[in-house]
């Protein structure tokens, strides 16, 4: 989540053919990749899909730092190793499904500025819902900034230490409490400024 702003930077500054492709086509492409992930049940087919996505990833010249994001969902897939009773075929199948899905999504987010994605979504979903989605996305950046400041304060108070679980829990909870209160204060200010700029249940994107 910390790399979200970097992902946005790449989406805006990138010059590859995928960056130039319209957001609508890229969303259709992602949906096709997801359909493949859902339908395909053999390792060869999934491997082919994953390799295709990897080729797209590297031809777009997205940095390796972003590639690590595609590996993150594997943390949750580890559970399947135990659930399946160490069935190699099943584990490979799950891992390939996970990696294909996450690579497709990172490709979309790394090559498409988020307002362009919301413009497409606004055509199919209720505008109030898309507004909520947009505000949540914006709020993540605001909270990340608050979190960055809070981290210093947290560090000065001992931060998180396995040797002091009670104090660590208290520190983390205070940090989250601080985050929530600051967040709510910021949301109230944001709403006031939105109303001043003419907000009426819908955000208008550039070009509309």
């Amino acid at each position: 989540m910390i790399q979200l702003s970097y992902l946005d930077y790449l989406a805006v500054e990138g010059k590859s053919f995928l960056h130039r492709l319209s957001a609508g086509w890229k969303i259709i492409g992602l949906l096709l990749a997801l359909a493949g992930v859902v339908i395909l049940r053999n390792i060869f087919g999934l491997l082919l899909l994953y390799v295709l996505l990897l080729i797209l990833f590297f031809t777009c010249r997205l940095p390796l730092r972003i590639f690590s994001l595609t590996l993150y969902p594997l943390i949750f897939a580890i559970l399947f190793i135990f659930v399946s009773g160490f069935q190699v075929h099943f584990i490979l199948l799950v891992f390939l499904k996970v990696l294909s899905g996450s690579t497709g999504v990172v490709l979309l987010l790394g090559t498409t500025p988020y307002p362009s994605i919301f413009v497409v979504l606004d055509k199919f979903l209720p505008s109030i819902f898309v507004t909520a989605l947009f505000l949540t996305y914006r709020s993540i950046f605001i909270l990340l900034k608050v979190l960055e400041e809070t981290q210093h304060a947290l560090h000065l108070r001992g931060g998180f230490q396995w040797s002091h679980p009670a104090r660590s829990l208290s520190n983390i909870s205070n940090a989250f409490g601080h985050l929530i209160i600051k967040g709510i204060d910021a949301s109230e200010k944001m709403y006031e400024s939105m109303v001043l700029r003419g907000f009426k249940n819908k955000i208008h994107y550039r070009g509309e």
């Binding site: 049940r41 135990f82 999504v105 209720p126 909520a132 979190l147 989250f176 907000f199």
Partner: protein, 238 residues
């Protein structure tokens, strides 16, 4: 803990499609009967709480693959109708970052909403009964997580036969569908036993971790509630 971390393509199609349909139906009903003006006013707050839930979910405690949801506290602050929309938004954004599959968004919204709505209702109830913030917050969060974890287990349990099909696909059942079907018929009882054994294994992994998670999140939510009560008691509406 109640967030279903299954990737795309693992749950049977009928299950995740049903999840989407039910979630859309509930969303439509809530949207129809909610005051649009009041909803618009609360959108920035909804966005901010949803963002806090996303940040909470991204802080992973690696050895036990646990993360806080903050859904119960968000439910208490947002109320039952807004928390549904917030969980839908949270699940869409989390799914985009590989935190549960995109096809699982509907089911995840339903299970997380149970947590948020129960958190709100239990907190109001225990606050009325106990009149003390700490036990009311802890008990409400603990039971809300308890219920939503069991609803998650129920959802996963509905797809057991499908997972077995995926797990045992390579065990020499042949290439042709005819042979596959015949084999299936011969070993139906054996397959069912295997399914039950694997599902029991899943429950055996999830429940102890769940118990740890319920206690941990209960403590964290309680401490956050106390912090908020100290600085902004108006937010709790007590």
């Amino acid at each position: 803990m109640s967030h279903i971390h299954l990737p795309d393509g693992i749950l049977p199609v009928w299950l995740w499609v049903s999840g989407f349909i039910v979630a859309m139906l509930i969303g439509f009903i809530l949207f129809r009967f909610t005051n649009k003006e009041a909803l618009a006013k609360k959108l920035p707050l909804l966005g901010m709480m949803a963002a806090a839930m996303i940040l909470g979910a991204s802080v992973e405690i690696v050895p036990i693959a646990y993360h806080v949801n903050l859904t119960a506290i968000s439910g208490i602050l947002l109320g039952p109708s807004l928390i549904f929309m917030a969980t839908l938004v949270v699940n869409i954004i989390l799914a985009l970052f590989g935190h549960g599959g995109i096809t699982v968004i509907g089911l995840n919204t339903l299970t997380l909403s149970i947590e948020g709505i129960c958190g709100y209702l239990f907190f109001r109830f225990f606050w009325k009964v106990l009149k003390r913030l700490t036990p009311a917050s802890f008990i409400a969060t603990f039971f809300a997580l308890f219920l939503s974890t069991f609803s998650m287990i129920g959802v996963v349990g509905l797809g057991v036969s499908h997972y077995e099909e995926l797990i045992h696909k390579d065990e020499g059942h042949g290439i042709f569908e005819f042979k596959l079907l015949k084999e299936k018929g011969d070993h139906h009882g054996e397959d069912k036993e295997k399914s039950e054994a694997n599902f029991k294994r899943f429950i055996a992994i999830v429940l102890p971790l769940g118990l740890l998670g319920w206690i941990l999140e209960g403590i964290i939510t309680t401490l956050i509630m106390r912090y908020i009560h100290r600085l902004r008691p108006d937010l709790l509406g007590l």
